[in-house]
């Protein structure tokens, strides 16, 4: 699809929201809550985190005011798209037992409104594409994910202000969006560059006052791209994929286990982690029971439990599962790594464990 780039004034952002709302969309956008940038319902640009930026470090995330007038001068909060498509807890179906013992099954229908998410980042668009692969493009299609995905519109904003924990440039997933979003914007000093990447996106642009792009604006955007691509954090350059599985008995797993709390924060904030468990909750009247699924983590005790045995009883084994899955077995499952470089697992780890450092451990030593 031909992607024509336009310029819009900042006031057009409200128009964009208004048009989406008028077309029946629930708009979800970034806003400050409880000291973090989270995505929730939004109907005014006044709710956006304008003039706010984030400072991230291993185990730490704080918001500060900055001098800029920009709406999107921050990197990433703890969650973005994943919970909108793959709910952290949801009912799948309900079973009812009649007096004569017959059981019937009733599908839980998700409350469905088309959702437009504003201001998502390149890493989260990349992660959504990975979750699409997992839930939609395998032997079985997840109908709950699919119905939400079919009704999602994404307005991405290229990153002008990556955090210290970001390494999307080294995974190839950012800081600018390649494809996968419906609309992509770049925030300039005086407004936005905007382009449609899908027919839905094109429809959305039609309602805005578009202006031709000047050479200066293109240069400004290019300067932002170059600046945002200079990230201090990087994935190491060796062949991670094959080396990890040759280092399964390495001492490193035991060393890291002395720090790791096995809390699962890293997998909860990871935008590509898909693990979930299923539980049945009987209603008090005894006549029906609801079957739920909720996010699970390979750091949990129950994740590897079978017939009285926990396959990964040790933290060292759980950390190894997480790292080898993300950076090695994921390649064979989905043709790429499971990491999009968002850095969340580093910032939100209570003890500040850094995956890029964990990987760097295997770089120069011949382990195995």
């Amino acid at each position: 699809m031909k992607m024509e780039c336009h310029f819009i004034q900042s006031d057009q952002l409200q128009k964009l929201l208004d048009n989406l709302l008028a077309n029946g969309y629930v708009c979800i956008g970034p806003q400050v809550r409880d000291g973090a940038i989270i995505y929730d319902e939004i109907n005014s640009t006044k709710q956006l985190p304008r003039g706010v930026t984030d400072t991230q470090a291993p185990g730490s995330y704080t918001l500060n005011n900055n001098s800029s007038d920009k709406y999107f001068d921050w990197a990433n909060g703890p969650q973005a798209i994943k919970p909108l498509l793959f709910a952290s807890r949801e009912s799948l179906w309900q079973s009812e037992q009649s007096v004569n013992g017959q059981i019937s099954f009733i599908t839980t229908e998700p409350i469905l409104k088309p959702i437009a998410i504003i201001g998502v980042r390149a890493c989260d668009i990349a992660a959504m594409k990975i979750q699409d692969q997992h839930f939609l493009q395998q032997q079985f299609v997840d109908p709950y994910y699919k119905i939400r995905r079919d009704n999602l519109l994404t307005v991405a904003v290229n990153c002008g202000c990556p955090a210290e924990m970001c390494f999307c440039h080294s995974t190839g997933d950012g800081p600018f969006v390649d494809d996968g979003a419906d609309v992509v914007m770049t925030e300039l000093d005086s407004g936005f560059l905007i382009s449609a990447h899908s027919s839905q996106g094109e429809k959305l642009l039609k309602g805005l006052t578009l202006q031709p792009v000047t050479q200066r604006q293109i240069e400004e955007s290019e300067t932002i791209r170059i600046k945002s691509s200079k990230q201090n954090k990087n994935l190491p350059h060796y062949d991670i994929k094959s080396r990890l599985f040759n280092a399964l008995r390495d001492e490193f797993w035991h060393e890291i286990a002395t720090k790791c709390l096995s809390c699962g924060n890293c997998t909860a904030v990871c935008p590509t982690c898909f693990c979930h468990n299923e539980t049945d909750v009987a209603e008090l009247d005894g006549k029906s029971s609801i079957h739920y699924r909720q996010w699970d983590s390979c750091f949990s005790q129950g994740h590897s439990y079978i017939h009285g045995i926990t396959i990964r009883s040790e933290t060292s084994q759980r950390y190894r599962q997480w790292l080898t899955h993300k950076f090695s077995s994921w390649h064979e499952q989905y043709g790429r790594s499971g990491c999009v470089g968002c850095g969340r697992c580093i910032a939100w780890c209570p003890v500040g464990i850094d995956v890029t450092e964990s990987l760097a451990n295997f770089e120069d030593r011949r382990r195995g």
Binding site: I103, F105, H276
Partner: protein, 281 residues
């Protein structure tokens, strides 16, 4: 109205036609889907499994042991190991449960035609290989020599005596039993299951070895078979891991890059040997 069909997560109702107590901890449920159209369309291969749902409690993955040509029934032999199976043990004829499936890849029965077959089980009542033996029994002339080897820890763990008696009478079939710890009146071998292997009759270049049971035992069997020049491609194991969804989504059954529920549960040893025996996978 949103359309969520087909919904691979949602069970169908099945009725218990018969319940057979196999041993104190083992029982068979003979099931039939109550929707006749679904039952008529139901097809499976030996080694595949279903998710069975106990009302108000939850689901559990159970191997199918009946014969695929027998289209009226679906048999599951269930060991009492947890909340769901304990509850299922209390069900009786006429009770209803939920069923979805079949899932996974089963035993290579077609590829193994005209070959000798060695079936090895260890531990307590290993349902997945029962389907193999039944399948061959029904088509005896299509397979070569059949060897059935079962190892148990204690002689008292040995169940299904009648079945083994029956299998012993099949033509061209050898049944070998071993207990690690023997006792008076145990008529068979005392020692590890591999100590019986010299008695097996098979052509190492034309054999399929099919096994299930504890992974440690399977590892020993595989090593032993490799020594006998059987190729890793001709050894097959049925693997078990936590399964919640059975459709490759929930992530619990991952084994390195494999999802046991859809890439298995039956794997050739060649496919899993790199990870096999590494603790924590």
């Amino acid at each position: 109205m949103v359309n969520l069909q087909p919904n691979p997560y949602e069970p169908n109702e099945a009725i218990i036609l018969e319940r057979i107590q196999e041993s104190p901890n083992l029982f068979t449920l003979r099931l039939k889907l109550t929707d006749q159209k679904l039952q008529d369309a139901y097809e499976f291969e030996p080694g595949q499994f279903n998710m069975l749902y106990l009302y108000g409690v939850g689901e559990v993955a159970i191997s199918i042991v009946s014969d695929p040509v027998d289209s009226h029934i679906i048999d599951h032999t269930i060991r009492v190991v947890g909340r769901v199976t304990r509850g299922m043990a209390n069900l009786k004829k006429g009770d209803r449960i939920g069923l979805r499936g079949p899932y996974g890849r089963g035993w290579p029965m077609l590829e193994s035609k005209q070959k000798d077959v060695v079936v090895v089980t260890g531990g307590l009542g290993c349902a997945p290989v029962v389907s193999v033996i039944n399948y061959i029994d029904q088509r005896r002339s299509e397979y070569g020599r059949l060897n059935i080897v079962q190892g148990v820890k204690h002689t008292t763990d040995f169940i299904w005596k009648d079945r083994y008696e029956k299998w012993r009478k099949l033509s061209d079939t050898k049944v070998l039993l071993a207990a690690d710890v023997g006792e008076a009146l145990w008529p068979w071998h005392v020692g590890p299951v591999t100590s019986l292997f010299d008695q097996l009759e098979f052509d190492p270049t034309n054999v399929a070895v099919m096994m299930c049971g504890p992974e440690g035992m399977m590892r020993v069997v595989c090593d032993h078979m490799l020594d006998k020049s059987v190729s890793a491609e001709q050894m097959f194991l049925s693997m078990e891991r936590n399964m919640q969804c059975a459709v490759g989504h929930c992530g619990h059954c991952q084994y390195g890059n494999k999802f046991i529920c859809k890439d298995g549960p039956v794997f050739s040893f060649a496919k899993v040997r790199d990870l096999f025996g590494v603790k924590g996978f």
